[in-house]
């Protein structure tokens, strides 16, 4: 059932277009949105592994009828094996990524329907479109297709920010778009350089060209292409120097939107990171660049999180800091390290979603996100407070929960790779993360309630609690049985660590 691979992208697109038509019909939108969102995590479970060729154009080697009467210039050279059409590749790692991404998306959409005063078809459109775009980025094996869907994801992110009525969302959205419109063409320029040198946009073929000496792998044009693509990668995932704008973007969206957008960042980070590792890992300094950027992200993200007084901004910076752990895993470039990094990515997407949704309840009840004005929410919502606390434990890496396993693997990996200093830094930053989280937790839940704090909505939607419970359940499963996840990630990690694929 290989056509399901394409459907993983097409279905959310169709959902988005359909929901946009239902504007202003509240009841219908609620039911239909949740029903349609259920397909997101279901499709990757049903699909088979394999490649999907759009338009059915396989490489000429496998298609002798099309290869009839062609000159030896084509049939006797590598051109014969190149992929002429867009190709999607779906393997076990992609299955896990798309499944977890679909789950987070489902829950974020589910919560968004019940937390907003009246469901908005446009909001649902933007969320589904973003989900489709990021799924395509995860699956695609074609670097120009990556660019197109990268742009759609950026536009959908802007849409999600514009939907919320948070103060200052227009300014932030405009800033994000201006930076994006500088970076995205530069990413395209990098793609153009690669296309010009290798004559191809299919990643597998680019790697084939570089590996088999069709191009000189050390020439400066490829270095320039590498630099430009890495620049796009930094922007897409919000690593420094783009960490400020990315955390601002999270803080200007509704909680459900922020939970979804951090999943966008995590999976764009992973997908493009894998591509960069696949193409450029032969460059001797690529490992150090990834490690350096990730370290900067960790240190800058987490130290800036301490200084914030805005709750959502704080989690936004923490989310950026946690991205650094994934990058460390990828940068270690051993099979064990990369598995750990990818596992951390999966965990991170779920945990940050829990925190955004959980602290979003506070925002829902009071309309305030400034930690200095909040307090005493423990009395009002003990269950949510407990769930948020569990989420914070998960993020800090407390045993029995999933991030403990992945961070342990990361530290072991860094020791095995001969870089024990990284392990020390990671442990220290983990402690700082936990302190930052506890500071926010104390400010919101534990200290006595200020007198001027007004609770606008006593009742909280059950949907939020259900969503957090589901995510925590998956976290617990991954924490108790990490091999459930790592067995999916192992094959990809092994092939990445083996140098050029």
């Amino acid at each position: 059932m290989n056509f399901l691979i394409a459907l993983m992208v097409i279905v959310p697109i169709l959902c988005a277009l359909f929901l946009n038509l239902l504007h202003k019909k509240d009841r219908t939108i609620k039911v239909v949105t949740v029903l349609l969102a259920l397909t997101l995590p279901a499709l990757p479970l049903l699909a088979n592994y394999g490649l999907h060729y759009f338009g059915g154009y396989v490489p000429l080697v496998e298609n002798p009828t099309l290869a009839n009467n062609l000159p030896p210039l084509i049939t006797d050279t590598a051109l014969n094996t190149f992929h002429p059409a867009i190709t999607y590749s779906f393997q076990s790692a992609q299955q896990l990524f798309v499944f977890i991404f679909g789950l987070v998306a489902l829950l974020a959409i589910f919560v968004s329907v019940f937390e907003t005063r009246r469901p908005s078809g446009v909001y649902a459109y933007m969320m589904f479109m973003g989900v489709a775009a990021v799924t395509a980025v995860i699956l695609t094996d074609d670097i120009f297709n990556l660019y197109v869907f990268f742009e759609i994801a950026a536009l959908a992110t802007v849409g999600i920010v514009l939907v919320s009525n948070v103060k200052g969302n227009y300014e932030t959205a405009l800033k994000y778009m201006i930076i994006g419109s500088i970076v995205a063409p530069l990413l395209l320029l990098g793609i153009a350089l690669l296309l010009g040198v290798t004559g191809n946009v299919n990643i597998t073929d680019i790697i084939y060209s570089i590996k088999n000496g069709l191009v000189d792998p050390q020439n400066p044009v490829i270095l320039m292409a590498c630099a430009l693509i890495v620049f796009g990668w930094l922007y897409g995932s919000g690593l420094p120097p783009f960490h400020t704008i990315k955390s601002a973007i999270y803080s200007k969206a509704l909680p459900s939107g922020a939970a979804l957008m951090q999943a966008f960042s995590v999976f764009i980070f992973v997908a493009m990171g894998i591509i960069i590792l696949r193409i450029f890992s032969y460059l001797p300094f690529s490992q150090w660049v990834i490690l350096g950027v990730s370290l900067m992200a960790m240190i800058l993200g987490i130290t800036m999180a301490i200084l914030q007084t805005d709750l959502k901004r704080m989690i936004g910076f923490l989310a950026v800091g946690e991205l650094g752990y994934i990058g460390i895993g990828l940068g270690l470039s051993t099979a064990y390290g990369i598995t750990a990094g990818l596992f951390q990515a999966v965990n991170e997407a779920m945990i940050t979603a829990i925190l955004f949704l959980g602290f979003g309840v506070v925002l829902y009840q009071t309309g305030i996100s400034d930690t200095r004005k909040l307090g005493g929410m423990m009395v009002k919502t003990p269950l949510v407070a407990f769930l948020v606390l569990l989420g914070g434990f998960a993020m800090a890496g407390v045993p029995l929960l999933n991030a403990f396993q992945s961070k342990l693997m990361l530290i072991q990996g860094s020791i095995k790779a001969g870089l024990p200093e990284l392990g020390v830094i990671m442990i220290l930053l983990s402690i700082v993360t936990f302190m930052t989280f506890m500071k926010a937790f104390h400010a919101v839940y534990l200290r006595p309630m200020p007198d001027e704090l007004v609770i606008k909505h006593e009742k909280i939607p059950k949907a939020t609690i259900i969503a957090m419970l589901v995510l925590l359940g998956v976290c617990l499963i991954f924490g108790l049985f990490p091999q459930v996840a790592t067995s999916y990630l192992q094959p990809l990690a092994t092939s990445l660590a083996g140098g050029i694929l």
Partner: protein, 120 residues
Amino acid sequence: MIIDVQLASLFTAVALVVIGIFAAVFLDNLIKKVIGLAFIGDGVNLFLISMGYKAGGIVYIQLPGMAADWFAQNSAYPLPFALVLTSIVIGASTMAVMLGIIIVLYKKRGSISASKILGE
């Protein structure tokens, strides 16, 4: 260093990109920033187009009476051109959204200066 049409247009493209980045980073007026962004997009498109150019070649349309072999050896390279068709539309649509946001922000804040609106 021999300059032919292809190299010259590649250089023009890079120059446009640099002018655009300069405008987008250093000019304070939001509309001018967006004009700069439009130039970056144009520059990258021109870069792609000059990659597909073939000196002494013909247009990629097979007219009646052209032998398939001769045509294939002489025509320009179609892949970059097709990519540009997509990328032009992408650029124009993001431009429209940005200008829309600028108009609304002007109504709210009464200014189109980046340092006043975006600097906090």
